[in-house]
């Protein structure tokens, strides 16, 4: 008797740059769980699928997973568009989905906010895109003040016209206005790498001081490089998927100074008791343990272990049905999976609020030299550094729920 889990990952589509390490993290974690006896003596049967960031393929897979004859206990999801597309089905079929999409619309289980449809079976680990951006804006407002520059700072939202980059747009712009920013018209750039010189020239001519990069790393890099070339003087605030160690390596000095949120308390090799577990898990796909794992991998380990513990609770309390697993998420407060102390941030999901955390750790990417060479070396030598800037504890405002 096995417990079935559906796993959507993007290894070949528009977000494969970050989808690959995250997907690997999920696969490794469950493999590790299985190796250590599974859950309550049951092995996990993880059906991992590369869906290429295509909604129809996600839905087709979902049909398979939701069929009564072999219904899964839970889904490890991925993108914003596909997760939002599945939301209604998940609620209907009572299957919890731990997604890689942190859209705030997924955090309102009962739809009480009026901003989003009810999403009782959606979960994710980390601050929502909107909350992360709110924290970044809060920091930016302080930064502006600290620098003592005159006038209103200008804020601009940048990203593809796509559910994922758009998810925090309204929230960000609303808070920015509130915080005294002048909000400029958004700038659009595609989810694929390309030449975005024109956008950077617009950015330059608009005189923006803070620009939010809503895409994933690959295309953000293009923008950062192009803007560097065009001599744009702007502070980039990146989405959680928009910056990581690989991106810093590729972008080189163009990535220097970018602010981004980190979901885990430490990165790969960081000083925390839980890091040992992470390294154990990483051995599942790399027995040498030498491969450097970017932040998304570590976040995936956390997400998967939350799922594991929720299932564990379900197994003990009536069996691993989707409904029970969802209940499992609601059991604990300030929850850190066993063995992950100091790595995963304490999270709480309640029946009424699926904002797991309101705490946002802001980091700054530091690149201090040429970035050719092995990532392990670069990190070890400190050529690339992820520097903690500030932890922002946002208030759990009811009016911020769901958007």
């Amino acid at each position: 008797q096995q417990i079935a889990i559906g796993h959507l990952q993007d290894l070949s589509g528009g977000t494969s740059d970050v989808g690959t390490p995250y997907g690997q993290g999920v696969v490794d974690t469950f493999a590790w769980v299985n190796k250590n006896g599974g859950i309550g003596g049951k092995q996990l049967a993880v059906d991992s699928n590369d869906y290429g960031y295509q909604v129809p393929r996600a839905i087709a897979l979902y049909k398979k997973w939701s069929a009564p004859d072999n219904k899964v206990a839970a889904i490890m999801g991925w993108g914003t568009a596909d997760t939002e597309a599945l939301t209604g089905f998940l609620a209907n079929d009572k299957i919890p989905d731990m997604s890689g999409s942190y859209a705030a619309a997924l955090t309102d289980p009962e739809g009480t906010s009026g901003k989003a449809k009810p999403a009782p079976y959606n979960f994710f680990y980390g601050p929502s895109y909107s909350d992360a951006l709110r924290a970044e804006l809060t920091w930016a407002a302080e930064d502006w003040k600290a620098k003592g520059k005159p006038g209103k700072p200008k804020f601009v939202h940048m990203g593809a016209n796509h559910p994922y980059p758009n998810a925090p747009k309204a929230a960000g712009e609303a808070l920015a206005t509130e915080l005294g920013f002048e909000v400029l018209p958004p700038l659009v750039f595609a989810l694929a790498p390309g030449d975005y010189s024109a956008q950077c020239l617009s950015l330059k001519s608009s005189g923006a001081n803070y620009a939010y990069l809503g895409n994933t790393a690959a295309s953000n890099i293009s923008v950062m490089k192009a803007c560097k070339n065009a001599g744009v003087d702007v502070q980039f605030l990146s989405n959680v998927w928009g910056m990581d160690e690989n991106a810093a390596k590729t972008a080189g000095d163009a990535a220097d100074g970018v602010i981004f949120p980190l979901r885990t308390s430490v990165g790969w090799g960081g000083d925390a008791p839980g890091m040992k577990t992470v390294q154990e898990i990483a051995k599942m796909s790399d027995p040498t343990g030498k491969v450097y794992r970017p932040v998304h991998y570590v976040a995936a380990v956390c997400s998967s272990l939350y799922m594991k513990e929720a299932i564990e609770w379900a197994v003990k309390n009536g069996g691993p049905t989707g409904e029970n697993v969802a209940k499992g998420f609601h059991q604990k407060k300030d929850w850190v999976p066993a063995g992950m102390e100091g790595v995963c941030s304490p999270s709480t999901w309640t029946e009424k609020d699926h904002r797991g955390t309101m705490k946002v750790d802001l980091y700054r990417a530091r690149v201090t030299g040429p970035t050719d060479g092995d990532l392990n070396d670069l990190m070890a030598k400190g050529v690339i550094k992820l520097e903690k800037v500030k932890t922002i504890e946002l208030p759990r405002k009811a009016e911020w729920a769901g958007w």
């Binding site: 290894l11 070949s12 494969s16 740059d17 989808g19 690959t20 016209n161 018209p185 958004p186 700038l187 659009v188 595609a190 694929a192 790498p193 390309g194 030449d195 010189s197 024109a198 956008q199 020239l201 617009s202 330059k204 001519s205 608009s206 790393a217 690959a218 295309s219 890099i221 293009s222 490089k225 192009a226 070339n229 065009a230 001599g231 690989n246 390596k249 590729t250 972008a251 080189g252 970035t371 050719d372």
Partner: protein, 297 residues
């Protein structure tokens, strides 16, 4: 009116457009000889970029050696693709051959991701001074180089088709393969040649964009940009392709100007070229320099 911003955008459009032009030229080349629309053009560009990257980073070859090596490789690669995949398709319905190039692009795309991973890779610095200043805009040295190279390639290509015996043979083959064969022209060789040259020319563009943006699978998007460029110039005109590329480049940037100054739609730069394209086609159904079909009965 923000003139300096507009000028910067126009200069940027010119530079980027020239690159579109180079790729469009290589696209037109295959079309002219084989009547086949090559959907894998962007991937040829990408392969060129990765190969050069590999030579420069893994084998630490200097650029002035790596670049020619890349071109030689791409020439051979073009021939190989033609011989193995497209040669058996000679004489089959064009639309099926086009579909094969689409299949090829899938295969290349996946194979490259497999070999080089999904993460973009930075290109080692190639030129001592990275940029030159033009109207207050920093223009990458590679872009300036590519401008020179593409003008040279365009002239060479134009001469080739107009005056050389093999250029004539290519045109005859495009017109009708059976007729070409009846004249003693080896359709196979003509096609192989077309693919080889086209792959080589694309690789030049590939390396140029890679130097600027780093290498990643996204570069193959240039393959799509090429369609409007080639069509705008007129499918069978080499000069037209370059001009079409430049026009598309300029249009994108003008659209960006209008958008960021007045409209704030967000992605006008992506869509505007297509509106203009349809407009131009309605006035000139064969693009700016394309030859009209002969309608004689």
């Amino acid at each position: 009116m923000n003139t300096s911003f507009l000028i910067q955008l126009l200069v940027n459009g010119l530079v980027v457009g020239t690159l579109y032009g180079v790729v469009a030229m290589s696209f037109v080349l295959i079309y002219k000889a084989t009547q086949v629309v090559n959907f894998a053009q962007g991937e040829l560009l990408l392969i060129g970029a990765w190969v050069c990257w590999l030579l420069l980073t893994k084998y630490q070859v200097p650029f002035w050696v790596g670049m020619p090596l890349t071109l030689v490789f791409m020439f051979a690669f073009g021939i190989a693709v033609q011989v193995v995949i497209l040669r058996p398709m000679i004489g089959e319905p064009i639309i099926s051959v086009i579909m094969v190039t689409i299949g090829l692009s899938t295969v290349f795309q996946a194979a490259l991701k497999w070999m080089f991973g999904v993460n973009p890779q930075p290109f080692p610095p190639v030129f001592a001074s990275k940029a030159v200043d033009l109207f207050g805009l920093q223009i990458q040295t590679v872009y300036v180089m590519s401008l020179a190279v593409s003008v040279a390639m365009m002239l060479g290509m134009a001469w080739f088709f107009k005056a050389s015996k093999y250029g004539l043979a290519m045109r005859a083959t495009a017109f009708n393969q059976q007729v070409a064969q009846s004249l003693g022209i080896s359709v196979k060789n003509v096609f192989a040649m077309a693919w080889a040259i086209s792959a080589t020319v694309s690789a030049v563009a590939g390396v140029v964009v890679a130097v600027v943006n780093g290498v990643s699978s996204g570069l193959s998007a240039y393959g799509i940009k090429v369609f409007p460029a080639a069509i705008l110039g007129g499918l069978d005109s080499v000069g037209g392709a370059v001009l079409g590329g430049i026009i598309i480049g300029l249009l994108e940037n003008i659209a960006q100007y209008v958008d960021s100054q007045y409209l704030h739609w967000g992605n006008l730069y992506e869509i505007a070229p297509f509106y203009v394209l349809i407009l131009i086609l309605m006035i000139k159904p064969y693009g700016l320099f394309g030859t009209k079909d002969i309608e004689r009965i």
